[in-house]
Point group: C2
Chain length 372, copies 2
């Protein structure tokens, strides 16, 4: 294998591929990036078994590379990224000089790196599932930001580590919950037929970093995997097995009380009050009536906080409710909305936070019982 390639283009491609590399992969070969020089393109493959990336560098008008001998090699991701970044040259020559020893050369500097034969790299099935649909990148990104934070990071119920996506009647319903809160986002979906899959939150967050660079993403799914096609980059992720809980009945059928207010005011007040923690958790009490809104918090060890908020509209009887400051903060922030609506159906019932500007998203939080 021998080729030369623009440093800039090579580094960009390697950085994208390296997203799939996990520091503690169970399979040693997966700490490397598989480089394949074909007759007319260069492919990079990287994987951590959960997520796999295949990236094809095609010849552009700038003639960014030239292939002298096709071939393939696997090089440790951290080595090749550092070499390509540090070589001070416009163009880098890659030459498989002896067995798995590979030369990287640019201007006066050269590196000979011990690689691994590509035959030792695991076979990854990149075949494309039959059916697919397309989403605008900004919608996909928004969905990731508005849901993944609400997934669970515990290993006891793996299915809650992912975002459940189900397609029915042209609507893609994306739900995340850790059983104390729930985030739900609806997207338009042109998929022919229905599916119900759960994608690891970690995969979605990695994919989001790459989606940023394209206008739209094609998503192909079957019951084994989901594939995301972003220009010349293909990312596929495993799905989480198991039945996702039926969350629709968690949403209250009707609401009795409702606050409407500026999201920034409430975020700041919660941020201030959240600083008072008991055992690392901040429980915040909200006391509200038509006249007065008070946010307070208390801890034996640290002390207490109290803040009165003035700009709000309230409909309903006076009430008191306590909740996790962290959960409500994250929920409001994820709405990315200037004005919010918080709807209650009782002091011990889940409450729901809506965006005034966007009815495709909602955040549900369970209250906390306190004794004082």
């Amino acid at each position: 294998m021998r080729f030369k390639i623009s440093k800039r283009r090579f580094y960009q491609a390697l950085s994208t591929a390296a997203r799939a590399i996990s520091a503690n992969s169970p399979i040693p070969a997966l700490s490397g990036i598989l480089i394949e020089a074909n007759f007319d393109s260069i492919s990079l493959t990287a994987s951590d078994a959960d997520i796999s990336i295949r990236l094809k560098i095609n010849q552009s008008e700038d003639k960014d590379f030239e292939i002298f001998d096709p071939g393939s090699i696997v090089i440790e991701a951290k080595y090749i990224l550092e070499i390509v970044r540090k070589i001070d040259a416009q163009e880098i020559e890659v030459d498989n000089v002896d067995g798995s020893l590979t030369l990287f050369k640019g201007n006066a500097s050269e590196f000979k790196i011990n690689g691994t034969k590509s035959s030792d790299y695991p076979d990854i099935d990149f075949s494309k599932p039959e059916s697919s649909f397309t989403l605008a990148s900004d919608l996909f990104l928004k969905m990731v930001v508005q849901t993944t934070f609400a997934t669970s990071d515990r290993e006891t119920r793996p299915v809650l580590n992912g975002v459940n996506m189900r397609n029915e009647n042209g609507v893609l319903e994306c739900v995340a919950t850790d059983s104390f809160r729930l985030a739900k986002k609806n997207l338009p979906c042109s998929f022919d037929g229905s599916f119900n899959i759960t994608i690891p939150a970690k995969s979605l967050n990695e994919i989001a970093k790459t989606v940023d660079k394209v206008n739209e993403v094609e998503i192909a799914v079957n019951d084994k995997k989901a594939q995301f096609l972003l220009g010349d980059t293909l990312i596929q992720t495993r799905l989480i097995d198991g039945v996702y809980p039926e969350t629709s009945r968690l949403l209250p059928a009707e609401y009795t009380n409702e606050i409407e207010m500026d999201s920034r005011d409430l975020l700041n007040a919660i941020d201030r009050a959240s600083f008072i923690k008991s055992d690392g958790i901040s429980i915040i009490r909200l006391q509200i009536s038509g006249q007065q809104m008070i946010i307070s918090s208390k801890s034996q060890e640290v002390g207490s906080s109290k803040e009165e908020l003035s700009n709000f509209t309230y409909r309903g009887e006076a009430m008191e409710i306590s909740f996790s400051g962290h959960y409500v903060y994250e929920a409001i922030r994820a709405l990315e909305s200037a004005q919010i609506l918080i709807k209650f159906s009782g002091e011990m019932r889940p409450f729901v936070i809506f965006s005034k500007e966007d009815d495709s998203v909602l955040q549900l939080v369970l209250p906390v019982r306190t004794y004082n």
Copy 2:
């Protein structure tokens, strides 16, 4: 104790004081900041036993504070910093409401924080040593940057964890060594008499962060402590006990070979070559003659690198020498010089790196024996 103070001024002062706070202080009371409201000023004190800061907030023309009741209290540094940062008000009222419970109030938000009585705060002796001298802040900062990195971080020889400063004949000689390399910086010193002290590198680095804000620093020393007076802020540090090794005889009396070159070229080449590591250490080989200069590195596991440098002037016979890439990189960078001179007195003798532009500083590095 009751006073009100400008949020901005209070936060600035608290941030400076908090520099002395160590996350794992052996004395629990030292995780707090001692706040003392006197009749006409507010003092903050913080310490981690190694380094102590006393900061006096004096009334300025802006009348930044008003004291209603003098008094004192100790508040956890992390709490008070977060509260004062988060309160959304121009002015903060501090009121010791009940025993050690202290109120912080700004606009509609208030915090009541459990403090500690100031009688439980350790007595810190801030008396000023009799003799002192003054340094321009930029000179002091440069000394810290050019020496502290070369101190040892091992606990086996505590005296090497500090920078040795000795004053003789109007010259302050600052030396740091970890026994594999040595950094030396001379400063003009108006101190009356001589001293020989070793200041912990950690203290110097903390002091440097505050020195940034003033034009000059007054340094008062005796054989127990060194005090740094920076405007309204007083920082004092303990000294390291023990006799500092006599380092002057480490410097070769004469040199046989000499390289003159651009520091940036060499830094970049060493940076590239250093990426090849054996057991986490990069050993770099330099081969040089009047015609050719080659930087190379090698590791069984990773591979090898080789780079030819072109712009250099060399005086002396052809030679080969190996050294730690990390040490030479740090040494050259610390010189902050465009052109450098490297002087050798044999392939197995320490070599010295000088700045072409500044003869008050030098960096010495021991070569490494290699077998190949």
